[in-house]
């Protein structure tokens, strides 16, 4: 028995290395310039599958102890080639593609795209259509900011707020379902107007929601601002000065957190933003807390805008009367043969757009969402460029993350309100 066991033993030859020497690791002489201990830089990989990266973001961190020396984002895990696909789709077919950019705020993406095409076509949208668009865009901004507030607090460790913000977001998503039949990927906007009109039920439910919403915002505030850990983890974290923020091309709440008054809804008014009263909240310090405060304040302003728009909502058509561009009314499509043919033609062949180029920026909840379209005539864009705020914010990530702790990384990309669908396109 013992012999067999002896045979089974694998012969072990020690590797040809120098014997372990304690002096290599610890300098015995405390007066030496090398210091008492050996210091090594550490490389830490985070993501792409990480619960708080809001999708598939991978970051490689160069660390010195727990301090970040350098943070290198590796993007592209969600790249689907939307710009290439758009070059081979008619203009109307691009609208569902834009839903999949920032899938948390699909309405704002639709709005940004249809505005660009309308600018190229020089289409005027009727008044009721503009009001409905503005209302829906602000509802989506509310839903987007609620989503951000819940997940940002959840990432930092304040879990409770998540349940409260998602309760209100659910009400808004139910309303979207009433408006267009979908909850996330809406495709509600059309070139020249919107898909369907508001019913009295939607308006009633929206009024009811707005009655209680201001109290709900106070509720979130009390949950967060009295939470000492949450405050300590947001105040003074991810600071950026106004000059740097402008130089990096940051937009939206991230830029306004540094005190720069740039909101496209005020700078280049569109929709009916110039017909209602509202303010642009501005931060002072440019830290995560200021950006939180701006988003909360923007929710109050959005509620104000929706309320005024509902009060002023005029009667009339919701789409421009341009038979070659806009779809015929839905009830006619189902009963009238010419309308059906017409609908079919626009949906399949599309319409011709004159030659030209246009850039149009729209204030999405995350920042300036711009579309650049180069048209060579014909029914498809020759080149469609999406200027995604999340991607450009990631460009400043390394700059903003240096010198903070590993634990702050989650706060820093949370503060951009980053969505990878839009970042990678």
């Amino acid at each position: 028995m013992e012999e067999i066991q002896e045979d089974k033993k694998i012969a072990f030859t020690p590797p040809d290395v120098a014997p372990y020497n304690d002096d290599d690791d610890f300098d015995q002489d405390p007066t030496s310039e090398k210091g008492a201990k050996r210091i090594e830089d550490m490389l830490l990989n985070m993501g792409p599958q990480h619960p708080s990266t809001h999708g598939v973001l991978r970051i490689v961190l160069d660390l010195e102890g727990e301090t970040i020396v350098k943070a290198t984002p590796h993007l592209g895990y969600l790249h689907r080639g939307v710009e290439k696909l758009a070059e081979n789709s008619t203009y109307s077919q691009v609208i569902p593609l834009t839903d999949r950019l920032d899938y948390v705020c699909a309405m704002n993406n639709n709005y940004a795209f249809v505005r660009t095409v309308e600018k190229l076509l020089q289409v005027q949208v009727p008044e009721r259509g503009e009001y409905i668009r503005t209302i829906v865009a602000e509802m989506q901004r509310l839903a987007g900011h609620l989503f951000w507030l819940g997940t940002q607090a959840l990432d930092i460790g304040a879990m409770t707020v998540f349940f409260y913000t998602f309760r209100e977001r659910e009400v808004l998503l139910d309303l979207f379902e009433l408006i267009c039949g979908a909850r996330l990927t809406m495709s509600y906007y059309r070139i020249g107007g919107v898909d369907r009109d508001f019913t009295p039920e939607i308006i009633d439910r929206l009024y009811k929601f707005l009655e209680t919403f201001p109290e709900k915002v106070i509720e979130y505030n009390t949950l967060l601002e009295t939470n000492r850990i949450w405050v300590a983890r947001t105040k003074g974290i991810a600071l950026i000065s106004a000059e740097d923020a402008i130089n990096f091309g940051l937009t939206g709440p991230v830029l306004r957190g540094s005190g720069v008054n740039y909101d496209i809804r005020k700078a280049e008014p569109y929709g009916v933003y110039d017909k209602v009263e509202w303010e642009v909240p501005l931060g002072k310090n440019g830290d995560t807390y200021d950006r939180y405060w701006i988003r909360v304040e923007e929710m109050r302003q959005s509620a104000k805008i929706i309320k005024q728009c509902l009060d002023q909502l005029p009667q009339g058509p919701i789409t421009a009367n341009l038979p070659t561009i806009t779809y015929p009314p839905r009830d006619k499509v189902m009963t009238d043969m010419e309308s059906l043919i017409h609908h079919f033609m626009i949906a399949t062949r599309g319409f011709d757009v004159p030659e030209g180029e246009v850039y149009c920026g729209t204030e999405a909840p995350k920042g300036e969402l711009g579309f650049y379209i180069r048209s060579m005539g014909g029914n498809k864009p020759y080149r469609l460029r999406i200027r995604p705020p999340s991607f450009i914010h990631m460009g400043a990530f390394d700059f903003m993350a240096r010198g903070y702790m590993i634990a702050d990384i989650v706060t820093i990309f949370g503060t951009y309100d980053i969505v990878m669908g839009e970042c990678d396109r």
């Binding site: 993007l75 592209g76 790249h79 080639g81 710009e83 290439k84 696909l85 070059e87 081979n88 600018k119 190229l120 020089q122 740097d244 402008i246 130089n247 990096f248 091309g249 940051l250 720069v260 740039y262 700078a267 280049e268 030209g356 180029e357 246009v358 850039y359 920026g361 300036e368 711009g370 650049y372 180069r374 020759y382 080149r383 460029r385 200027r387 991607f391 450009i392 990631m394 460009g395 400043a396 700059f399 990678d424 396109r425």
Partner: protein, 162 residues
Amino acid sequence: MHPISQQIQERFPEAFVESIEALGELSVSVKREKVVDVCRFLHDDPGLAFDMITDICSVDFPNEEPRFEMIYQFYSIHKNRRIRIKARVPEEDCTIDSITGIWKGANFMEREVYDMMGIVFNNHPDLRRILMTEDYDEGFPLRKDFPVEGRGWRDTFEFLSS
């Protein structure tokens, strides 16, 4: 001509190509050798003050010469106006100077242009692919001669080619 394009023309007479105003937007074409100088002038001149970079992208015209067009969008926070600068890049010498020295935000945007269109930026601090993987060698996806369905392994699938 728009006063801003006039200023650019006076300052860089040899670089100025043309100025177009359409749909309320101003776009100025310049020679690619002078792009950095023109951009620095736009950024530094207190009367113009285009302090914010909005976007950098490129367009491919395979049947034209020079083939590629770089498009820069700038915005001035103080004056609330936009400008578009365009420069043509030929296929044989597919390079242009980087403007990362003026706007730090140009870093990622130029990397994307390199990744998608294959235009090389001189003096760029970290020119690597950004959206595609770093070892991607099937070409540059946004060029017009790149097929929409992609290239690579799938080309060998028999049921697709037959």
